[in-house]
């Protein structure tokens, strides 16, 4: 029998605790769940402090304040967010939040328009004039886009023309949901395979001396 490290035993037992929920809810599962939530939060705080706050805010100000004094502004905005804990001056946090939200709207707006809306619209404007090997695929693509858009057009009651098109849109949606479900199954199975590989190859086999 080989020695398997404490970390491997701990990980293996916690994995089994988590899987035990598949039989029924039990205290071992709840322990693993609570431990995971607590460790995740602690890890998040620690890594944000060490990898973001210290190198981007604290260290530059401590080492060269003359060139980095402007970092006081984001530092103060960050602190203002925590003022919510003091109800009497909680309103101060709203200013920091307003700047934060405004910044992200600005960043996200251009990202959405430039990165999603315009390129995807451009992709639907395809030449159908000359017959090529991709023409049929392009035609199906365009029919799919327009029929789904018609299905989601709720401002006018559907008539004899739009109703069958909307129905076709539902078919396109169902096919895409089926593809998404297939991929989801594959993803979840992959996670199970990863855990079972760990349990068998890293825990059980070394413990019984097979590796």
């Amino acid at each position: 029998m080989h020695f398997v490290g404490f970390g491997t035993w701990l990980a293996a037992l916690l994995t089994i605790f988590a899987f035990s929920f598949l039989y029924k809810d039990n205290p071992f599962f709840r322990f693993a769940e609570s431990l995971f939530a607590g460790v995740s939060l602690g890890y998040y705080v620690g890594i944000t402090l060490n990898q973001t706050l210290l190198p981007n805010l604290v260290d530059p100000m401590v080492q060269d304040f003359g060139h980095n004094w402007d970092l006081i502004v984001p530092g103060l905005l960050g602190l203002m967010l925590y003022v919510r804990a003091v109800p009497r001056i909680g309103w101060v946090s709203r200013y920091a939040l307003a700047i934060y939200v405004a910044y992200y709207i600005g960043v996200d707006f251009t990202r959405r328009i430039q990165g999603e809306v315009l390129p995807q619209i451009a992709r639907t404007m395809l030449p159908l004039s000359s017959l090529q090997s991709t023409t049929l695929v392009s035609a199906i693509f365009i029919v799919g886009v327009y029929s789904v858009l018609i299905y989601f057009f709720f401002s006018k009651e559907q008539n004899a023309v739009t109703k069958p098109l909307a129905r076709l849109g539902i078919w396109f949606l169902m096919i895409s949901f089926g593809a998404a479900f297939g991929f989801t199954v594959m993803g979840r199975v992959a996670l199970l395979i990863g855990r079972l590989n760990f349990l068998i190859l890293n825990w059980i086999y070394p413990t019984i001396g097979l590796q």
Partner: protein, 292 residues
């Protein structure tokens, strides 16, 4: 038979769980070596990386956590193997908060052990984790050192030869993001669309369908979709590089190729259950209609 199907509808789901366990465990204990076919998006990704020149710099972002490591680890590690073999230099970052950096450190340790000639700071560098994915990417478009003033160990970037001549992410030849959730999408819609740097994505299978739209629109070079995509990529690496063929054949570590046996067996069972479930459902519905 109808009685059996009726009982099938009332089957305790725990029997299904047990079958899932057995069908996935079996191929781990006794590998089957079932074939994997390569899709176009994986082939394009492989070809693009293969065409890079020695000395080129690429960006590898670990944008996932332990919850999707079995899918993303193999693709990130395969990417590093191909780069190091071709003497392409790699900048590593992590933008996923819960475990991205830990996984990056682990993968780097594993892969650099396989390539003892690669040197930290010259052939690769680990810039660590940074919070606020879109803000980080926005800053990378102007100034890498503004977003990551130091490497993961707190040393200034100017100390490292790999960073010389790199001002912004515009200067790298490719971004490869192994991603879960939305961060992968940000690399496409922010870094590729606004800055122009080519992007290859290795998403979890759950996220993969939405990225086909980005492939069709030309916003992505290619995609490795989940464990299947990673297995395809490993197959291409093994075909193209004899050193990696040996490695993938003999490694005791986890690879996507090994995982695909379990996937295939279990998918077969799932398909069978879907068919049986539907037959039972329609029979039941027919009976009810007949009774009315």
């Amino acid at each position: 038979m109808p009685g059996l199907l009726h009982r099938f509808l009332a089957l305790d789901r725990r029997w299904i769980f047990l079958l899932v366990l057995v069908s996935v465990t079996g191929p781990i204990v006794l590998p089957l070596g079932l074939p994997v076919t390569v899709t176009e998006s994986t082939q394009k990704s492989y070809d693009y990386i293969e065409a890079l020149k020695p000395g080129d710099v690429v960006w590898l972002s670990f944008d996932y956590g332990p919850s999707s490591a079995p899918e993303n680890d193999p693709m990130a590690e395969a990417f590093m193997r191909q780069c190091f073999l071709k003497k392409v230099r790699v900048i590593v970052t992590a933008l996923y908060p819960l475990g991205g950096l830990g996984l990056a450190n682990q993968s780097l340790a594993r892969i650099t052990a396989e390539f003892p000639n690669v040197e930290y700071g010259v052939d690769y560098i680990n810039l660590g984790y940074k919070d606020g994915a879109t803000a980080v990417m926005r800053r990378l478009g102007d100034d890498i050192a503004g977003a990551f003033p130091t490497d993961v160990n707190g040393r200034p970037l100017a100390e490292f030869p790999i960073m010389h001549g790199l001002k912004s992410i515009r200067d790298v030849k490719l971004v490869f993001t192994a991603a879960t959730g939305l961060i992968g999408e940000y690399w496409i819609t922010q870094v590729h669309s606004q800055i122009g740097t080519p992007v290859i994505i290795g998403p979890t299978a759950v996220s993969a369908p939405k990225y086909y739209a980005f492939i069709n629109s030309g916003q992505l070079v290619g995609m490795l979709g989940g464990m299947k995509g990673a297995a395809e990529y490993e197959l291409l690496l093994a075909r193209g590089h004899s050193e990696l063929a040996t490695l993938y054949r003999t490694t005791k570590g986890f690879t996507a190729t090994k995982g695909m046996d379990g996937q295939t067996v279990l998918h077969g069972f799932i398909l069978l259950f879907i068919v049986l479930g539907n037959i039972a459902f329609f029979q039941e519905r027919g009976k009810k209609a007949g009774a009315r």
